[in-house]
């Protein structure tokens, strides 16, 4: 199994790569290399619009959409998860990849922002290694309004219900950072990669 991590500027690529050190991992920055991988991870930090622009300039927008349709596993992390959705209202309005249905909006300003640190999970679809009351490390200021409640595997609460792990068939999203969430987080990432989530 070859895992590809989309490299489109500065992300937390090194940490994700370290977390998956037992697998063969390559960096993907063009359509050609994307077609060689079995699992694709879309990481991301920074602004939504900027990230989409980078993906577009690398010719990866349609390639990622095509990858999602192929049935191979596609995993979005943090901003990478948000990019899977239809649109974002981060500093304007931007079109996303539209692989999942929903939009990305600002966290309620009743809370300290960014939502930074370890927050408790409520798990709607438990599996071995993932259960309610585990903690995930989050760093974000925007969150996904998921249209289909059934796709929320785990959520957390921060002024609103925040989807923490979402899944639709072969598509998985982590709003938090599994690669930074200690041993449990590394376990979730492996489960996602191996289709056990």
């Amino acid at each position: 199994m070859i895992i590809g991590i989309v490299n489109y500027g500065l992300g937390n690529i090194r940490s994700i790569k370290n977390a998956l050190s037992e697998y063969k991992v390559i960096l993907v920055d063009n359509e050609e290399s994307l077609l060689t991988v079995d699992v694709l991870i879309l990481p991301g930090v920074g602004a939504f619009g900027f990230a989409m622009e980078n993906l577009r300039s690398l010719g990866l927008v349609d390639a990622i959409r095509g990858f999602a349709k192929s049935g191979k596993r596609l995993i979005g992390i943090c901003l990478g998860m948000q990019l899977l959705y239809e649109s974002s209202f981060e500093h304007g309005e931007f079109e996303g990849l539209g692989i999942l249905k929903g939009k990305v909006i600002e966290l309620p300003n009743t809370e300290v922002i960014p939502h930074m640190g370890w927050n408790r999970l409520t798990v709607a679809q438990p599996s071995e290694g993932l259960y309610t009351n585990q903690y995930m490390y989050f760093v974000h200021s925007y969150y996904v309004v998921e249209e289909d409640e059934n796709q929320i595997v785990a959520s957390t609460f921060y002024g609103a219900k925040i989807p923490a792990i979402v899944k639709k068939d072969n598509i998985i999203g982590f709003q938090g950072h599994p690669e930074k969430s200690g041993n449990e987080g590394q376990q979730w990432l492996k489960m996602a990669v191996e289709g056990k989530l």
Binding site: L10, R14, V112, Y135, F157, K180
Partner: protein, 255 residues
């Protein structure tokens, strides 16, 4: 009520590749190997770690960056690096080496734009504005160069300015409390809390469990940094966390 846990953050001051801790920024004493200590704290349940490059001379810079890479390869929790960050390129190098956040202190006083530029380029989540604060009369002032030089900045105003510039987090280091174990400067944290809406990490003064409890019960900060009490094993993180949890503070306990 949010379930976001209050963070316990050991701070590792790095001198010549080793962990050191000074009392009131003087009398630096070597303690141990940074990687060993980082893994130890991670396993004990530390929520994050901070590494400060204390001497930060140009020639020692690559040693520190090399250490940052080794830390990133080893630990599975977030960490911040600081000390000697002067330019946006320094920020880029630290992030590229695997740091999750970069802390700027003196450089931001000399050139506040560095916070704005760093946040714009890498996102505000990775820009930590750290400030050394000392009370003079009734007013809090920002100091630079390890507390040696007083600036004209009022600490509360400066905190607000850092937020406006794009900092995603503040580390408030009360110098008078540093290493003297009299507790965090709660009044200072609360005053800053009133004017900003980004996370606040308190630093300087932790001497016992009650100091953490007081800080979090007042919700005066989102996290607490401490060094010597952890390094000298005056206080173990698991017992600190279980006490805080029993007091009703949301805390992540590691089984």
């Amino acid at each position: 009520m949010s379930d976001l846990a209050k963070r316990i953050i050991p701070c590792l001051d790095i001198v010549n590749g080793n962990v050191a801790k000074g009392i009131k920024f003087e009398a630096v004493k070597a303690i141990g190997d940074p990687i060993e200590l980082a893994v130890y704290y991670q396993n004990e349940g530390a929520d994050e770690l901070v590494f400060y490059d204390i001497n930060a001379t140009v020639e020692m810079r690559s040693t520190f960056i090399n250490l940052v890479e080794r830390i990133a390869e080893t630990i599975k929790i977030p960490f911040t690096v600081g000390g000697g960050i002067r330019t946006v390129d320094d920020i880029y190098n630290a992030l590229l080496s695997g740091a999750d956040k970069v802390s700027v202190n003196s450089a931001a006083i000399l050139n506040p734009e560095i916070i704005y530029q760093g946040a714009k380029r890498f996102g505000n989540q990775c820009m930590v504005a750290s400030m050394d604060v000392r009370k003079l009369g009734e007013e809090y002032f920002v100091y630079t160069h390890g507390g040696k030089n007083r600036t004209t900045y009022n600490a509360i105003d400066w905190a607000k300015r850092c937020e406006t510039l794009g900092a995603g987090e503040l580390v408030i280091n009360a110098i008078d409390q540093d290493g003297v174990k009299k507790g965090y400067d709660l009044a200072l944290m609360q005053q800053i809390r009133e004017v900003v809406n980004i996370p606040i990490i308190a630093s300087g003064g932790a001497g016992n469990m009650k100091d953490f409890e007081d800080l979090f019960e007042l919700d005066a900060a989102d996290g607490a940094i401490a060094a010597s009490i952890f390094h000298y094993k005056t206080l173990a993180i698991p017992s600190l966390k279980s006490r805080l949890s029993r007091s009703g503070i949301v805390i992540r306990e590691v089984m």
